[in-house]
Amino acid sequence: MLNISGLKAKVGDIDVLKGLDLSVSAGEIHAIMGPNGSGKSTLGKVLSGHPEYDVVSGDVNYEVNFKNKDITTLSSDERAKEGIFLSFQYPVEIPGVPNEEFLRASFNALCKHQGVEEMSAEAFADFVRSKAKDMKVDESFLTRDLNVDLSGGEKKRNELLQMAVLSPRLSILDEIDSGLDIDSLKIVGEGVNKLRNEENSFVLITHYQRLLNYIEPDFVHVLHDGKIIKTGDKTLALEIEDKGYDWLI
């Protein structure tokens, strides 16, 4: 589904990714771990096409309709329409725009792209409420302005709800666990597990092993200085939890 090879990217003049390789197949969950400043969040931003991040070289191939397509030239909304979803580490607050209205606009933009009929406000209201229930997100989130006055944990759960509504094929979750208390973490973990199936894939960017107690990854990668320096299974994460990163570097 996703094939990254030799990816180099920079922010302004600073090189952050320095030749990253990663391959994700449908149905897989990959965890990316690494010390601060290793380039974890950059990877998420680059994959979703944040305009501040420039790809210098390398390929990012993503499977669209059984064909590999280089997505580095696609704009952020085009990527979203192709089923790529980034859960933000710090979701931005947008006063004046109610969550539900935003989600419907987003959902219908995706429907339109896929040639599916757009959903009416009434039908969407039912649909989004059922998703909110699935994801154990309070309905009151829907009528509030997008991310405004939500706590850090609530914002993360709102990201989860969006993911449930948009059902992406590739989800990149950027530190969805940071700032969460253990109960919220459980809810987020259960939510991801519910959404998981044979056809979609997840890339979990995380700092802490504890997220992986709730979402079991197929692969764990260690990112350091813009490159993946080690790949293993979930035991690697436990080892890191135990020993830190120093022994790898």
């Binding site: 302004g12 979703s48 096409g49 944040h50 305009p51 501040e52 704009s75 952020s76 909304d77 990527r79 979203a80 329409k81 979803f85 980034l86 933000f88 979701p91 931005v92 947008i94 006063p95 004046g96 725009v97 109610p98 209205e101 935003f102 606009a105 987003s106 933009a109 995706l110 792209h113 302005d145 969006q162 948009l166």
Partner: protein, 484 residues
């Protein structure tokens, strides 16, 4: 990077082709350019006006001659040569005017159709009574019979002068006296037509009343006058829309609107102003210098102004309320969007005289490109106004690096029981916000539209349904063309 994003989004606000910029080809009867007592007398003659109107005009004209054009607003434009304007232009027609819609020049009806304004049968279907003003003359009013049954008078100003001179005489200039300001004096001298509306006691007007203004002729000023009176216990919702063809010269629009609400009466006046704003180099466009004021004359009366200002090269407009009756309420909801080289200086005055009077001001300014967008408002609480309250909120949004947003609130309080609160904030069309929305699959245009609508929703929700749809469309139209 942020810089780049911002330019992009400001591109989005670049003036799109002005949808209403066509010219209608009809024969018109025009006055020569310039203004003098002769011209005014001639105007009065043509319109066969009673003496009190003629004298009112002449008094106003004499007073106007003693005035200088005001310069205090935050506006920048070449001096207007008032002698180079034409003060009357009317589609040529039978001297008696059209008896029914069937007699109106089909070209003009076609114009209104292109504008999407329902007249005649269309209006009946749309459930709105419309008075359409083309250049200087009212073309005809729909739904008159139905309204008459309820005792509602809704007609052109000229017709009101002819058929209801006692009402016109009683209220003309009572809220906006000709001495009020330069443009009010000019309007009083040369006003050509406009709408008149009277809602009798305890009648709730069942239809939204609507006036549609269009400037068509070149070199013509438009000076309409609107007078709305809601008698005791009456209520009405009044809509006003404006467009003009695209011309490379500047045209002057100096209207006066007076509203009077008696005891327990309620008037809601909504405007969507989309006069031609000039091209992206700031050439051409309408100078929109308008005096609008409402008098809450009776106790428990209520006047609400809602405006969406999206057009005109220059806007100079302060719809105001004089809260004279005890417990009367005044409201002002405004969205002013400027782009290219547009300049808007708009706001309101809330003058509290009666006890327990209450006013609310919600103003949202959006400036993009090289435009200048200023809020100027006054809240005055006189010693007599015990327990008066005002809440004002004036937010600005800046899009791009070359525009400006200014706020000039004047708050004058002379009573210790007053409670007055003024809040203002600025925001921008933020690159992070756009990215967030785009990463959820909205394209840039949709994302900006969503943000702008979010910023303005406190105002849009005050508009009658059909106007709020139009307002949203208008904002979107201003955004059109960002793709490709």
């Amino acid at each position: 990077m942020e810089i780049e994003m911002m330019t992009e989004s400001s591109e989005v606000l670049k003036r799109r082709d002005y949808k209403y910029g066509f010219v209608t080809d009809v024969e018109t009867e025009d006055f020569p350019e310039g203004l003098s007592e002769d011209i005014i007398n001639h105007l009065s003659d043509i319109k066969n006006e009673p003496d009190f109107i003629r004298e009112y005009r002449l008094k106003a004209f004499r007073y106007w001659q003693t005035l200088e054009e005001p310069e205090w607003a935050q506006l920048n434009y070449p001096k207007i040569d008032f002698q180079a304007l034409r003060y009357y232009s009317a589609p040529k027609q039978n001297t008696d005017g059209p008896k029914s819609m069937d007699e109106v020049d089909p070209e003009i009806l076609e114009t209104f159709k292109r504008l999407g304004i329902p007249l005649g049968e269309q209006a009946r279907l749309a459930g709105v009574a419309v008075d359409a003003v083309f250049d200087s003359v009212s073309l005809g009013t729909s739904h008159q019979e139905e309204l008459e049954e309820l005792g509602i008078i809704f007609c052109s100003f000229s017709e009101a002068v002819e058929k209801h001179p006692e009402l016109v005489k009683k209220y003309l200039g009572k809220v906006v006296p000709y001495k009020d300001n330069f443009y009010a004096a000019l309007n009083a001298a040369v006003f050509s037509d406009g709408s008149f509306c009277y809602i009798p006691k305890n009648v709730k007007c069942p239809l939204d009343l609507s006036t549609y203004f269009r400037i068509n002729s070149a070199g013509t000023g438009q000076f309409e006058r609107t007078l709305v009176i809601a008698d005791e216990g009456a209520s009405v919702s009044y809509l006003e829309g404006c467009t003009a063809p695209q011309r490379d010269e500047n045209q002057l629009h100096a209207a006066v609107v007076e509203l009077i609400a008696m005891e327990r009466a309620s008037i809601k006046y909504s405007t969507v102003q989309n006069w031609y704003a000039g091209n992206e180099n700031g050439e051409g466009g309408i100078y929109n210098f308008v005096t609008k004021r409402g008098l809450c004359a009776g106790n428990h009366s209520h006047i609400s102004w809602t405006q969406v200002e999206a057009g005109s090269a220059i806007t100079w407009k302060y719809p105001s309320c004089i809260l004279k009756g005890d417990y009367s309420r005044g409201e002002f909801y405004s969205v002013a969007l400027t782009n290219d080289h547009m300049q808007a200086d708009t706001g309101t005055k809330m003058i509290h005289i009666g006890k327990h009077t209450n006013s609310k001001i919600i103003s949202k300014g959006i400036s993009a490109d090289h435009s200048v967008n200023a809020y100027r408002g006054q809240v005055k609480i006189l010693p007599s106004a015990d327990h008066a309250r005002n809440y004002s909120q004036c937010d600005s949004m800046l899009v791009g690096k070359n525009c400006s947003a200014d706020t000039y609130p004047f708050i004058e309080i002379q009573n210790k029981t007053a409670t007055v609160e003024h809040e203002a904030t600025t925001s921008k069309l933020n690159a992070d916000q756009l990215f967030y929305l785009e990463s959820r699959g909205l394209d840039e245009e949709e994302a900006i539209g969503l943000l702008l609508n979010g910023f303005c929703k406190d105002v849009f929700k005050e508009l009658p349904l059909e106007f709020s749809v139009e307002a949203v469309k208008l904002l979107e139209m201003k955004l059109e063309g960002s793709v490709g």
